[in-house]
Symmetry: C2
Subunit: 218 residues, 2 copies
DNA sequence: ACCAGTCTTTAGTATGCTATAATGACGACA
DNA sequence: TGTCGTCATTATAGCATACTAAAGACTGGT
């Protein structure tokens, strides 16, 4: 009934819903790398299964049971990511692809076992919150570094996890969840952002900065 | 190109081929729990992909590339099984189902990493040999305990891994790979086999005994 | 209030795997 | 050697997912 593909659809819709609701067909298609026409077909089936509501030509919103599935998948993904770094020596740019497949294959037993081993952690290697077994998840409080202005400071809450090259780049800058950040200066017209990361200063492009989320302190 | 289902077909055919070759359609169907007609369709496709040869109405035999895929799947399955027992506290009756899904989801990186952690083991928790990365595998030397006669003795080489209830039963008898076994007596007409397992004596039915493989010493 | 451009859906096709029902090949045995 | 029962195959259909192409719905701007 719930196939891997459907799990992916629900997970993707959940994530987009955090930014915009209802979630439009094109947004799902782009996120999943398929054509919009394919999305229409799948969401019709997911609507029949009461996993989401579909307002034709408007978009979809997850139902409680759809959200439950999505959070379960996300929990599996993030716990696996953390386990791979903590116990199998993966670096943070290597875990996403592996977790993307494992999230559909691991059992509840597996997940609860690694959750215990990891001490029921609150977030994954990229700082994303891990939903609990019963489906609660910490709210996201960070702002994209690209939206900050000179003088603002805070802590890296999380970074996007799906671009390995970006993650390797961020590593060279010393950016990781928990890093102290202070914006020194922002060049105009999409120019680089001059920031202090812990004890070093760097110029970061808008594109990279948009994938780094800062929890403001002041 | 190689789907999960096709990996399962190749793995299954490989295992049956150890007993009988060519491998007949019905044998595959029974092992996979599908109808023979479905098998015919899939093996035709696998033959086109040069993963096996199909003699219509006779059966199939794996090609070298088909065998390579099969051994890769089996390597993944058995390493995962061992990792689950060694590092995640699974008991030997719990690992098969979990490995059955994970074998299709884990990457080479994952497998080689756990192989290193486990010290490049030779066999899984049930005593089955683990193929090496380059596709070599130790020959099977055990005989079904059900075929032994009074007086024969040896060591448990391996046991069937796919029936959790059987594995739990064997545990209560103290049967595991490496156990010393001596057949005391075999009752006629499919009667129980009276055996000494390490330091205890038990009566074991033919059915259970047929899933325990003994490496003879004398 | 309409029109143009964009987004969404429908229609039709393909692939992969499964099933049931019917046909065809094989082999054992009289 | 012919026949019967078993095994394998073909034929047809359904489900899930994807695609392209075409038609329909929506919306922003004049």
């Amino acid at each position: 009934m719930i196939t891997q593909e459907r799990e992916d659809y629900l997970k993707t819709i959940y994530k987009i819903e955090l930014e915009e609701s209802p979630v439009r067909t094109t947004a799902i298609a782009k996120a999943l790398g398929v054509e919009p026409a394919s999305v229409t077909g799948v969401i019709k089936r997911l609507a029949e299964l009461d996993l989401l509501e579909h307002q034709p030509y408007k978009g979809v919103t997850l139902t409680p049971s759809g959200r439950k599935v999505a959070l379960s998948v996300i929990r599996r993904h993030r716990l696996v990511e953390l386990y791979l770094t903590q116990s199998l020596g993966y670096s943070w740019d290597e875990v996403h692809d592996e977790a993307e497949r494992l999230e559909h294959a691991v059992s509840d037993k597996f997940i609860e076992r690694i959750a215990t081993i990891l001490g029921h952690p609150a977030s994954d290697p990229h700082g994303a919150p891990i939903p609990t077994k019963d489906g609660t998840i910490a709210p996201r409080v960070g702002h994209p570094l690209s939206t900050l202005v000179a003088g603002q400071s805070g802590m890296v809450e999380r970074v996007s996890d799906d671009d390995p090259a970006l993650l390797r780049y961020l590593s060279t800058l010393g950016i990781q969840p928990g890093s102290a950040v202070r914006v020194r200066d922002v060049a105009p017209y999409g120019g680089p952002i001059h920031v202090r990361i812990d004890d070093n200063e760097h110029d970061i492009g808008i594109e990279a900065a948009s994938h780094v989320f800062i929890e403001l302190t002041a």
